[in-house]
Symmetry: C2
Subunit: 111 residues, 2 copies
DNA sequence: AGCACCTGCAAGTATTTGTTTGCAGATGGA
DNA sequence: TCCATCTGCAAACAAATACTTGCAGGTGCT
């Protein structure tokens, strides 16, 4: 995923997702290879519930992908992989992205 | 500012600061040249108080710098400039940054 | 003095985000 | 059956962020 391919709103979402210690560690762990939820939770020393919440955010932001895999012994395991990305943040790049931010509040109507 | 120069904690701070529509627009505006608070607020159509809050965050993250300038007509204006940065975010780069995240909670003590 | 500019900040509230706890369902093996 | 493993999620609470409002101080010009 490249910076030029994302809208301003999506970039905000991606950055907000990356801006969290837990999620940064999760990505770091997955950078070393795919893993499934329970094991990853054990390795990181955090609760499965908490990990799941963060994984959902990461997936919503498109930074990781998941797939359900049936292990040899019949257990259903959910594996997560990193979705490669390369975002080169510079003032100019952000300025370009800012152009595609949705209106919302803030602009146009000062009283 | 380069990615290799910042710690994981600082990277989290920087990303959290960038992950906001207002701040992204502010950077976009400043990318076009320095500006002072009141004028910038007018151009963006947001309140000065709100702008100041965001500018303080941007400055705390080291993304902009400020200096007080006395205009010809005696008014004290606070000018803000962008502090150039170039952060190339990739899974590997984040994994490296994650190594320098401070301990806090999350790691080491699963019960 | 009154108005138009410039600055700064804190208190209070609204909103969003993060975390825990608890429950539920499934499989395989002892 | 009971235990260990895997999954999922929502409700409730805690904490961090965002935003508004209101006040205060300054200069210069009419």
């Amino acid at each position: 995923m490249e910076l030029s391919e994302v809208t301003g709103d999506r970039l905000v979402q991606i950055l907000a997702t990356l801006a969290n210690p837990h999620r940064m560690r999760i990505l770091a762990a997955l950078a070393g290879g795919q893993d499934y939820v329970s094991r990853l939770a054990r390795e990181m020393g955090i609760s499965r519930a908490l990990l799941q919440v963060h994984l959902r955010k990461l997936e919503a932001a498109g930074l990781v992908t998941s797939r359900l895999v049936l292990s040899e012994d019949g257990k259903a395991m959910k594996y997560y992989d990193i979705e490669p990305f390369s975002l080169h943040l510079t003032p100019e790049a952000l300025a370009a992205a800012a152009l595609s931010l949705t209106a919302d509040q803030s602009q146009g109507d000062r009283k």
